[in-house]
């Protein structure tokens, strides 16, 4: 409830907007979240730049083609794309005021996220087991940092979503929980898009060179 929430004019013109934008203060928070995503896009851009510069500097270690398994990466991609779909349904249900449905689809999103992170961890463990850790070469350093940065983001998202599930149970669909759900969905879609770039640049690109 910022000062401007008391401003009647601003309130009236927002009536036709989706519920998460109608309250002025919550709407301001969504603006802030978009700007956070901008900074995060740039974080990933810097990681991609590092990767692009270092990808051929394999030293005595393996080349990209030796490291990447397209099959697992493809499965990971399908799982994450599906989870983007499920969070989309959760937001649709939120706008229909169907709280149970929101919780179920959010829970499903969490499960898909967990599956994604698990597969990634197994893949990493396999690489490390054959001695391809991130100290082997500049290429592997940049690969692991880029992909693990994404994986860490997904893990954070999972913790966030679980916290949200608790809050939904306790408080129901309020102005605040709607905004939290909406910003979570923005975050999740953003991670999905980042993964599409990783899949294209790292995994598919790695097969080409």
């Amino acid at each position: 409830m910022s000062s401007h929430a008391l401003d009647g004019k601003a309130k009236a013109s927002h009536q036709e907007l989706p519920p998460e934008f109608q309250d002025q203060e919550e709407s301001i928070k969504i603006t802030g979240f978009w700007l956070f995503i901008v900074t995060d896009v740039l974080i990933f851009a810097s990681l991609f730049a590092t990767y692009a510069v270092l990808v051929n500097r394999v030293a005595a270690g393996p080349t990209p083609a030796q490291v990447f398994q397209l099959n697992t990466a493809l499965i990971e991609t399908l799982i994450l794309l599906t989870s983007s779909f499920t969070i989309g349904i959760a937001i649709w249900a939120m706008r229909q005021n169907r709280q149970r449905m929101v919780s179920w689809w959010l829970a499903l999103t969490v499960l898909l996220g967990m599956a994604f992170v698990s597969i990634e961890l197994v893949e990493f463990a396999g690489d490390v087991a054959v001695g391809w850790g991130w100290h082997t070469s500049a290429f592997l350093s940049s690969f692991f940092l880029l992909v693990a940065a994404h994986g860490t983001h997904v893990t954070m998202g999972i913790i966030w979503a679980v916290a949200l599930l608790f809050q939904l149970r306790r408080r129901g669909l309020t102005t605040v929980t709607r905004r939290k759900l909406y910003t979570f969905s923005l975050y999740w879609h953003f991670l999905d898009i980042m993964w599409v770039f990783i899949f294209t640049v790292v995994y598919l690109g790695g097969r080409l060179i």
Partner: protein, 662 residues
């Protein structure tokens, strides 16, 4: 004695922090800390400190805390500078040795940029911007406090390196391989990377916070082209922060991983590439220059209009040129390392983009001068800083264009010419501007002006000391003296110029002492300002409310219909066109953000984790991380962030301030 004690002593206090300077600093820190604790306990101020300051989310108080921190850091950075100058005063003078010299120039640069310049900017943002746009706080008051505490604990961590473990020593740019573990065994560079990561997170959040505040929380009627120029400067600076800090974060993170986790991003072995760091660093570093100078431009635009009693000349071109600088700032980073050898085409591109920036900057200088034309000038301290800025900054800018000329740059690169150039723009632009801003808005922060007579003494010492300090350095650079050299032999012809430069440095130091004494003197002896418009000529919204502003800022949010709204409003009130004071029924309840201990605890948890990481004590690092997560999850579940100030309470407070009509 348990066996880990000698290990701890050896790790925390290695021989290179057991020199007289370090031990002296340790004694001072312990004694100072003990005195503060004693004072707090004796006068029972602990509760007051906690409630009023440490847990506050009020933007005005956060601004004041930034200001205090910045002044303390200015003292530390300034002492570093005087140590450097003393060592260079005479040929073969070994006041400090080579490795100490490395540490001192590293901490001087890092502190002046990240722990003096940035907080001073944020002090002004916090104090001024919400008041200038007619808002009751920033968009995210809690995040604002978190930003401050991340900065404060990072500054503490960075300064701790001096007495615990050893200072960083690879320059403020921290290029690999100088920072590579194989060549640099002390924990100093860990301190550098970790504390800058911490303060960088805080800075990014501040950037987001002020962008959203300005974009979404302006008073009704304040369109973009009615915003005061300082607010425009804040908007552009915040946008720069938003785009500049992420690459820096990654550069720091990768360097840190190289040191503590055995990766090979920038190492000489395993295929690492040091020049990648340099690119990422300057991708941030060049916009950072404009992050530091745009707020100063904003201050000058306010100061020159106020003390010329005229509206700013060429407002639209001021806005346009500032935005042009913001955009161009991203296209110039390679000019910091033309000598990398990227080839003529790349270097020419970046040389041209560098020179292009001189055009919008020139527009601004002309507009300021034309604002004074025909005005009724008063030469207050802030105005003097503005006047001193013009020749200083113009010459600094012109030598910048010289540096942008690629073939010549191969000659200037890494010489004292560069040192002279960037001190001339950073002191002549940023420091003069921020000091002008501090003097100008001091009455808004504290309710009284700083003493003008002492202010002028400080000005003449500081600005007068500037010229002998830095102008000789251009010649030293042209005569071949390279930066970061800790001593030099007789017979190179550098002696006289270095003596002059050192004397100038000490004159500037004296200026700082007068400034500090002015702060203490004015607190007791200066007249209180009852009007809220301390200079009598205020033009923008912040001067329409009492000084210091009440916690809710505006009892009634004004409707802005003019660019210099308060100037126009004063005329309307005098002519009786508008009532001078709001009626009681105009005042409505106000939501005020509640105090919270989360930000300071979050800072402390970060500090703990960071300290563990510096010494690669992973359990401590993990404990800090767990603390950070615990606090974040705790705040996710908190919903009740506001308390309501009833209309009656606001009326009472306004009546006490003499601000309520009948």
């Amino acid at each position: 004695m348990p066996s880990f004690v000698p290990y701890l002593i050896h790790t925390l206090f290695p021989p290179w922090v057991r020199r007289p300077t370090e031990i002296g600093a340790e004694i001072m820190m312990v004694a100072g800390g003990a005195f503060i604790v004693y004072w707090l306990l004796k006068y029972k101020k602990l509760q007051w400190l906690w409630n009023e300051w440490l847990t506050t989310v009020d933007h005005k108080k956060i601004g004041i805390m930034y200001l205090v921190a910045a002044i303390i850091m200015l003292a530390r950075g300034g002492l570093d500078a005087l140590m450097l100058r003393t060592n260079l005063a005479m040929p073969t003078l070994h006041f400090i040795n080579a490795s100490e010299y490395n540490e001192v120039f590293t901490t001087h640069g890092t502190i002046m940029v990240f722990f003096m310049g940035m907080p001073l900017i944020f002090a002004l943002f916090n104090v001024v911007v919400p008041l200038q746009i007619g808002s009751r706080d920033v968009a995210f008051p809690r995040l604002n406090a978190i930003s401050f505490w991340l900065f404060a604990f990072a500054a503490a961590l960075f300064n701790l390196s001096f007495v615990v473990g050893g200072s960083p020593n690879a320059g403020w740019t921290a290029y690999p391989p100088l920072t590579e573990l194989a060549f640099n065994h002390t924990v100093g560079e860990n301190y550098y990377f970790i504390s800058l990561l911490m303060t960088g997170i805080g800075t990014t959040i501040t950037g987001i916070n002020f962008l959203v505040t300005i974009l979404r929380m302006r008073a009704p009627g304040m369109t973009f082209m009615k915003m005061p120029l300082f607010t425009w400067a804040t908007l552009n600076t915040s946008a720069l922060i938003l785009f500049a800090f992420p690459p820096f974060t990654i550069a720091l993170l990768e360097s840190l991983l190289d040191r503590v986790a055995g990766t090979s991003f920038f190492t000489l072995s395993h295929g690492g590439m040091p020049m990648m760091y340099v690119n990422l660093f300057w991708l941030f570093g060049h916009p950072e220059v404009y992050i530091l100078v745009l707020p100063a431009f904003g201050v000058f635009s306010e100061v020159v209009a106020t003390f010329s009693r005229k509206k700013l000349f060429g407002y639209p071109s001021m806005v346009l040129s500032m935005t042009a600088i913001m955009v161009l700032a991203y296209g110039t980073w390679v000019h910091h390392f033309f000598t990398m050898g990227a080839g003529p085409a790349v270097n020419v591109f970046f040389g041209l983009s560098t020179m292009l920036i001189a055009i919008p900057t020139g527009v601004k200088v002309f507009n300021w001068i034309l604002t004074m034309w025909g005005g009724r000038l008063t030469f207050t301290t802030p105005m003097l800083y503005f006047l001193a800025m013009i020749p200083t900054f113009v010459i600094g800018g012109a030598t910048g264009v010289m540096l942008g000329a690629v073939p010549a740059d191969y000659q200037f690169h890494n010489s004292y010419f560069v040192i002279a150039h960037f001190h001339q723009v950073l002191i002549g632009g940023t420091v003069f501007g921020l000091l002008a801003g501090v003097y100008y808005w001091w009455p808004k922060m504290f309710g009284y002006k700083l003493n003008d007579r002492q202010g002028k003494w400080a000005f003449w010492l500081f600005a007068g000391g500037f010229w002998p300090t830095f102008i000789p350095q251009y010649w030293l650079g042209l005569e071949g003296m390279t930066r970061r050299m800790y001593t030099y032999p007789f017979g190179l012809g550098w002696h006289t110029l270095n003596v002059i430069s050192t004397i100038g440095g000490f004159i500037m130091g004296a200026g700082f002492l007068v400034l500090a004494s002015n702060v203490l003197y004015s607190r007791r002896h200066q007249e209180r300002d009852e009007t809220g418009d301390a200079w009598g000529n205020g033009r923008t919204l912040e001067w329409s409310i009492p000084s210091p502003a009440p916690e809710y800022n505006f009892a009634v949010i004004p409707v802005v219909d003019e660019r210099d709204w308060w100037w126009a409003e004063k005329e309307r009130r005098q002519s009786g066109e508008r009532p001078a004071l709001p009626r009681p029924e105009d005042i409505r309840p106000i939501a005020i953000p509640k105090n919270t201990p989360v930000p300071i605890l979050l800072g402390a948890a970060f500090f703990l984790g960071a300290f563990g990481l510096v010494f690669t004590w992973w359990y401590i690092a993990l404990a800090g991380l767990a603390g950070v997560f615990g606090l974040l999850i705790y705040s996710w579940f908190q919903y009740d962030h506001y308390r309501i100030l009833s209309a009656g309470e606001v009326r009472e407070s306004e009546e006490l301030l003499g601000r309520l009509g009948a």
